[in-house]
């Protein structure tokens, strides 16, 4: 792995904006390697540094410390117009005084590509984004979705090795967004270009990416494929940011062979993999996804939970179950085949957590 050349690499990159006490540390010692032909997503809440990292790759900002490498070459000193990456901006940034055709051709013109080649390339790009026939329109005459596709075509026309996308779908409405997700994924697979995609929408990240880097406050919290990120969050932030999670304080009752048995204050027992710092008798935080908890009708009230809330959401019902020590659990259970919820408010339920369902988190 170490000898394989990455499409994009960031090494110990730090970016500080401003000076003195008001300085903002947008990126804090970040290192990542993005592989060729990969759909790589930077995911996180606003202000986490994902857009800053993208702009460092594009060359629109320079790192305060550390280095950016493209295909193994240091590019820190190169301005954006000398890097072979292209960007799809969040606001599309289409040149309002040029036609669609002129916009798409712009990068090619700037690089001095032969005029005879430009025409066919533009036509090819328009076909790729399904906008053939729109050559002579102006950006102001296009809908949001069409503008976005022109922005895409404009960037792709230059056959970059890496395409950077800065929250390109955030301005679109839901239906369009879902359609574009598919289109973008297909485009990436068809062209084989490395996509670096920035978003704050976890559903987007999970559906489109080969790998995701979850970021918060200038640091990478976790890097992995969507399955890993969802099933095996390493810390509270990732567990919380992706999907819904229950956080349970528990005490380690026994520890052997990397497996731990923990007991929560409400009397529930959990079998899970132990993290390195776990000690017998020590307190840990467990993350438990609502859909991994099994509920059954309780015969007696001892050790049972009570359903205090039920919200119907179509395929499932979200329950809030109150436990013996007044703590609550979010549980999601698929509804019965006739569509009705399995439990009602006030029901006593027995709670079963399968082995491995809970994850021990790094504090």
């Amino acid at each position: 792995m170490a000898t394989e050349r990455s499409a994009v690499e960031a090494r110990d990159v730090t970016k500080i904006f401003g000076h003195g006490p008001d300085a903002v540390r947008a990126l804090d010692n970040v290192s990542i390697r993005i592989r060729e032909n990969e759909f790589f997503t930077l995911l996180g809440p606003s202000g986490c540094g994902k857009t800053t990292l993208l702009r460092l790759i594009a060359g629109l900002e320079l790192p305060t410390e550390g280095e950016i490498l493209l295909e193994g070459e240091r590019v820190g000193h190169l301005p954006p117009n000398r890097r072979l990456v292209n960007t799809v901006f969040q606001s599309y940034a289409l040149f309002p005084h040029m036609t669609v055709r002129q916009n798409i051709a712009f990068g090619l013109e700037m690089r001095g590509v032969d005029r005879a080649t430009i025409g066919p390339t533009v036509a090819e790009m328009l076909q790729l984004v399904q906008l053939s026939g729109y050559e002579n329109r102006r950006p102001s005459q296009l809908s949001g979705g069409q503008q976005q596709r022109v922005a895409l075509a404009r960037a792709l026309a230059n056959h970059p090795k890496v395409l950077l996308l800065d929250e390109p779908l955030s301005a679109l409405d839901l239906k369009l967004r879902q359609g574009m997700r598919e289109e973008l994924k297909n485009l990436q697979q068809k062209t084989g270009i490395t996509f670096v995609f920035v978003t704050h929408d976890q559903e987007e990240a999970l559906t489109m990416s080969d790998r995701i880097a979850v970021m918060d406050r200038g640091q990478i919290q976790q890097l992995g494929d969507p399955h890993e990120i969802y099933e095996q969050p390493v810390n509270r932030f990732v567990a919380d940011f992706i999907g819904d999670t229950n956080f349970i304080r528990a005490r380690v009752s026994s520890l052997s062979n990397g497996q731990a048995r923990c007991r929560s204050g409400s009397g529930l027992e959990f079998d899970c993999s132990a993290i390195g710092s776990a000690r017998a008798g020590g307190e840990v935080t467990l993350a438990l996804r609502p859909e991994k908890i099994r509920l059954g009708k309780a015969e007696r009230s001892a050790g049972a939970g009570k359903v205090v809330h039920a919200t119907y959401v179509g395929t499932d019902t979200n329950y809030v179950v109150e436990l013996g020590d007044a703590s609550q659990l979010d549980v999601r259970v698929q509804n019965a085949l006739d569509g009705h919820a399995r439990f009602r408010v006030g029901d006593l339920v027995a709670i079963d957590v399968p082995a491995g369902a809970a994850r021990m988190l790094v504090d």
């Binding site: 594009a58 060359g59 629109l60 301005p79 954006p80 117009n81 000398r82 990456v85 292209n86 960007t87 901006f89 606001s91 940034a93 040149f95 309002p96 005084h97 712009f106 990068g107 700037m110 690089r111 404009r154 960037a155 230059n158």
Partner: protein, 274 residues
């Protein structure tokens, strides 16, 4: 009919932003602003010499004014002066706007603003006598005398501000990411400026040029003090004529000058709307 009016008044009362009497005052204001000018224009077409008794329509005064050698010479000087001052001041203002807009505050930017805004903070009479003194000093002590150039320099200086403002406004409205996108698409800084920034800036520059022209064409005070012999501009001519006595030719020539201003302001508005 009555209840239509009542309903309309009720509708107006319901309008949250209605304030009693404001519309009346506003219209009154507008009337006040235009009434004297309209009187002037109307009476410039009056047949007799009086400026308050209307006899019949006549364009005699315009003909007389047009035939007047002095007026023609003055008009030419005004146009020449305004033309040169506009071109020079617009170029300078464009450069200044590029340097002071869309950057974070840097050392000296406040000072630069103060300098550029000088015509607004210094009353024109003070600028006029200061400029006069400066040129007189240059001439007497250093023998430097630019002739007509003195007037051009004085005009250029106060025109810079008026050309600057629309250009700056246009630049601030411009989407910063457009230039980033150009760089992302391999344009060098010069190409970015030439292909993206400048074309988008042109309406602002044109608007600035319009304003600069009007301000130079209409200037009185500074021109009166700085102009030398043979440099009578149209406003100076009118000023002298008024002091000599009110004649209908003044009305005619004033209307023409007004028309020129109106023309350029209208052009300005059209350009700004784009």
């Amino acid at each position: 009919m009555a209840d239509v009016a009542i309903r309309r008044r009720a509708q107006r009362r319901l309008d949250l932003r209605y304030q009693p009497g404001f519309s009346t005052l506003a219209i009154l204001c507008l009337v006040m602003l235009y009434a004297p000018i309209i009187v002037l224009i109307v009476f410039s077409f009056n047949d007799n010499r009086s400026v308050s008794v209307w006899t019949e329509f006549s364009s005699d005064w315009y003909v007389a004014a047009f035939r007047n050698e002095e007026i023609r010479a003055a008009a030419w000087i005004s146009l020449k002066l305004a033309g040169i001052a506009t071109v020079v001041s617009t170029v300078i203002a464009t450069a200044a706007a590029l340097a002071t807009t869309r950057t974070r505050a840097y050392r000296g930017i406040t000072a630069a603003y103060l300098v550029i805004n000088q015509p607004l903070v210094v009353p024109e009479i003070v600028t006029a006598i200061a400029t006069l003194s400066f040129f007189a000093l240059l001439r007497s002590e250093a023998g430097i005398y630019f002739g007509f150039g003195n007037l051009v320099l004085a005009h250029t200086v106060f025109c810079i501000l008026f050309a600057y403002m629309p250009i700056r406004a246009r630049l601030e409205d411009m989407d910063l990411t457009l230039e980033q996108a150009a760089a992302d698409l391999y344009a060098t800084p010069w190409q970015t400026f030439r292909r993206i920034t400048l074309p988008l800036l042109v309406p602002g520059i044109a608007a600035g040029a319009m304003l600069a022209f009007i301000v130079s064409f209409d200037d009185v005070i500074i021109t009166v003090f700085v102009a030398g012999p043979g440099e009578t501009t149209l406003p100076i001519y009118i000023y002298g004529a008024i002091r000599r006595g009110i004649t209908p030719e003044i009305n005619a020539i004033s209307t023409v000058v007004l028309a020129v201003s109106v023309l350029f302001v209208t052009l300005f508005y059209f350009i700004s709307r784009r």
